[in-house]
């Protein structure tokens, strides 16, 4: 099986989807000739032509707005927003238009489009290249929100997203593009080739939307997490020796509640980890669901490990980032409670 980085897996998903369906078109800022600033669309224009993969002016509202119209006309656009931090001009088109078109027209028009955007920090991007705005999407009725944590899932989930008949927001943890980042920024980068989930099947396959994955089985505590924090959490588990079960949520909405609740019911304890800010973050939703569905199994208060409620800082990025030490502390606290 080919070994790929996250970038190569995402690129391969595009190739598979574009080969299978002529209505799949890819566009965004710098995605055409250049192949994207993170190179996720490299070679697509050369391979499929300028009608299938092309550059756009710098207009996020224009990119998503045009994609909505195109999708209503039978196409399946897969567009890139260069950084999630830049998506706000398109937010109206995502929230008021794409998300509600099927509903408000009673199925007369639909918007089967995928909106990709890199999220998360760890590249010294400061407050405009580091955000994790997933909660701004999970709060919106009609949006599917996906965030893969490895090359295998990235390909399978992106294919599923493109093939979905609904709009999908596809969040790519940029710190994972080139390796399974464990949260120790001061250590050498580990390449994807050393990780099992860099083995990516050739051709077509889908990782179903709405299904979580248990990355490590354990008995003492459940860690609910996604994206970069999956790897950070696994590192924290190794370093603390706590026998934790790590659930990679993968699709935030619709959520695989069954897997989440099964795990917390089994372990009786729960830590939630995400990189986004704390207040009203997706962790709050997870905590609410856990207490609603597994309250009588809980033996300790739920602990959240997240970014602080500040903008993402430049110089002190690693103070902000909820690394393995912070996750480890939460694990010990919850297990010791």
């Amino acid at each position: 099986m080919p070994v790929m980085t996250m970038i190569e897996a995402i690129r391969d998903a595009h190739v598979v989807a574009m080969e299978r369906d002529r209505s799949v078109v890819v566009f965004g800022e710098d995605v055409g000739h250049f192949g994207g600033v993170f190179r996720c669309t490299k070679g697509l224009q050369e391979r499929f032509g300028t009608d299938r993969c092309f550059d756009t002016p710098i207009t996020e509202a224009g990119i998503v707005g045009a994609a909505v119209g195109m999708a209503a006309n039978g196409m399946r656009p897969c567009v890139e927003i260069q950084f999630a931090d830049y998506m706000y001009p398109a937010y109206d088109q995502i929230v008021s238009e794409a998300a509600r078109l099927r509903y408000r027209s009673a199925g007369d028009f639909t918007a089967p489009l995928t909106i990709r955007m890199p999220v998360g920090g760890g590249i010294y991007g400061g407050q405009t290249h580091s955000q994790s705005p997933e909660a701004l999407f999970t709060h919106v009725a009609g949006l599917t929100t996906v965030i893969p944590s490895n090359p295998h899932d990235a390909k399978g989930l992106l294919i599923a997203a493109i093939e979905s008949d609904d709009p999908v927001v596809f969040l790519e943890p940029k710190r994972l593009y080139n390796g399974p980042f464990d949260g120790h920024h001061d250590r050498p980068t580990v390449p994807w080739s050393s990780h099992d989930l860099s083995e990516v099947p050739e051709g077509h396959y889908a990782v179903p939307l709405g299904q979580a994955a248990v990355r490590r089985t354990g008995t003492e505590v459940t860690v609910l997490t996604y994206g970069t924090m999956v790897h950070v959490s696994l590192t924290a588990v190794d370093e603390t020796g706590v026998d934790a079960e790590v659930v990679d949520v993968r699709t935030l909405v619709p959520l695989d509640l069954e897997t989440v609740i099964r795990s917390v019911t089994k372990t009786g304890r729960c830590v939630i980890a995400h990189e986004a800010t704390l207040t009203s973050g997706f962790g709050a939703e997870l905590a609410a669901l856990v207490q609603e569905h597994a309250f009588y199994s809980l033996e300790a208060p739920i602990e959240r490990v997240t970014g602080y409620d500040t903008p993402y800082p430049h110089t002190h990025e690693w103070v902000y980032f909820p690394g393995p030490d912070r996750v480890g502390k939460a694990l010990r606290k919850v297990v010791g409670a």
């Binding site: 002016p57 707005g65 994609a67 195109m70 006309n73 008021s96 408000r104 007369d108």
Partner: protein, 420 residues
């Protein structure tokens, strides 16, 4: 440097800066006189070939294309060659639209619906534009283009049912009245977030071209909403990809209580906004049915010949209130609609047909009667399936459907909790 600036202020050479904030205006709009409107006489404006270079058409964004003269005759290079039956049908659609508006407004007053919006005075634009449309073309309308549906022969009873939010409502009561959606009739779902549809029309047109289809996109926006960034996104996307789209700005002088000049700023006309994008732009008398048909056909031909987008500013006047929630007496004189120099589009087309000997007062009276009957029948049919007042609303079960293609577990749970 600071010392120098301070010295200027001290010796009176520096003056405090100020803004040109639009105040409470005259209460008469800003284009109330023929001179200010740039009103040209019928037949005076030249008609370039559709494939002329955009730069050679720039004068058309400041002129006003008019066809029907004061004597009712069609004159000049823009006078369209239309079968008289097409023109008579156009008159009927306009009258149907006005009658539907009149009756549904009364229905709102009587509590049969929560809300209504009339297109009074603007009927020629939608009904005239429809002449240029073909099966498969897609309009991305605002809430004041109901004439497009009427001219597309959409069942009136369904329009009324949507407004009554009853069992007939194709949208299951999810949308406010008048927020229609009718794909088969070339009418995209209305949003309510202004301007979003303008760039979607461009995307739809791009999709058409990418698929190798022959249908075109048609965007609609009001004068006020041109100030939204989506207007600019639409123009830049249309310009960059030369999308097969016609982009219509309906300048009806008023954005609720705000005169069009507030959105227009220092620009001479809305049409001129196209020039910065290299998009040919026309400025057209929107109350002149024949001028509307001619300009729409010209712009649609440009799109169909792959010559790219056209921006059209339709100069018209919103003769009625913004909506049933609005009372214009607070911001404009009552008599202003009557003083409006471009007149009533229905009267003008009638006079044209009579002047050219293809219509009579008798036929006019007959048509008036027929239109009243057709609307009355549609209303009766719709009312038999319920109104906001009498009930028979769509099942609340519909509330939970169509959020996603397939209902996810969390919505299923919520629907069960709600008891449906």
């Amino acid at each position: 440097m600071a010392a120098v600036v301070g010295a200027e202020v001290a010796d009176g050479r520096g003056r405090p800066l100020s803004l040109a904030v639009p105040g409470p205006l005259s209460g008469a709009g800003s284009h109330s006189s023929p001179g200010e409107l740039g009103l040209s006489g019928a037949g005076e404006v030249r008609r370039p070939d559709v494939d002329d270079p955009p730069r050679k058409m720039w004068d058309l964004a400041t002129a006003l294309i008019r066809v029907i003269g004061d004597d009712g005759r069609a004159v000049g290079p823009w006078a369209p060659t239309l079968d008289v039956a097409v023109v008579q049908r156009g008159l009927r659609y306009m009258m149907l639209t006005r009658e539907l508006d009149r009756r549904l407004l009364m229905d709102q007053r009587h509590g049969r619906t929560s809300f209504y919006m009339q297109a009074t005075g603007e009927e020629a634009i939608a009904c005239g534009f429809a002449v240029a449309l073909r099966d498969g073309d897609m309009n991305f309308p605002t809430y004041r283009q109901q004439g497009l549906l009427v001219a597309a022969e959409y069942p009136l009873a369904l329009m009324v049912g949507q407004v009554y939010s009853n069992e007939l409502d194709p949208l299951h009561g999810r949308q406010m009245p008048v927020f229609y959606s009718a794909r088969e009739h070339g009418f995209f779902s209305i949003s309510g977030n202004l301007a979003t549809q303008f760039v979607q029309a461009v995307g739809w047109a791009m999709g058409s071209a990418l698929k190798g289809d022959t249908s075109i996109g048609v965007g609609w926006i009001g004068d006020g909403a041109t100030a939204e960034s989506d207007f600019h996104s639409a123009l830049v996307m249309a310009s960059t990809y030369r999308a097969p789209v016609v982009l219509n700005v309906v300048n009806n002088q008023w954005a609720i209580s705000t005169p069009e000049s507030v959105a227009r700023g220092g620009a001479a006309t809305f049409a001129e906004r196209g020039h910065g994008f290299g998009i040919p732009a026309l400025r057209v008398d929107g109350n002149d049915f024949l001028a509307v048909c001619a300009a729409a056909l010209w712009a649609a031909e440009r799109a169909r010949l792959n010559l790219g987008p056209t921006l059209i500013e339709w100069v018209t006047y919103r003769a009625a209130a913004h909506s049933t929630s609005d009372d214009p007496s607070g911001y404009r004189p009552k008599e202003e609609p009557l003083r409006w120099p471009l007149g009533d589009p229905i009267d003008r087309l009638q006079r044209h047909l009579i002047a050219t000997g293809s219509w009579s007062e008798g036929q006019q009276a007959e048509l008036h009667h027929e239109v009243e009957e057709v609307v009355a029948e549609a209303r009766a049919e719709a009312a038999s399936r319920g109104t906001l007042q009498s009930g028979r609303q769509p099942s609340a079960r519909f509330m939970f459907e169509d959020v996603f293609a397939r209902m996810p577990p969390h919505l299923r749970r919520q629907r069960q909790q709600a008891g449906f």
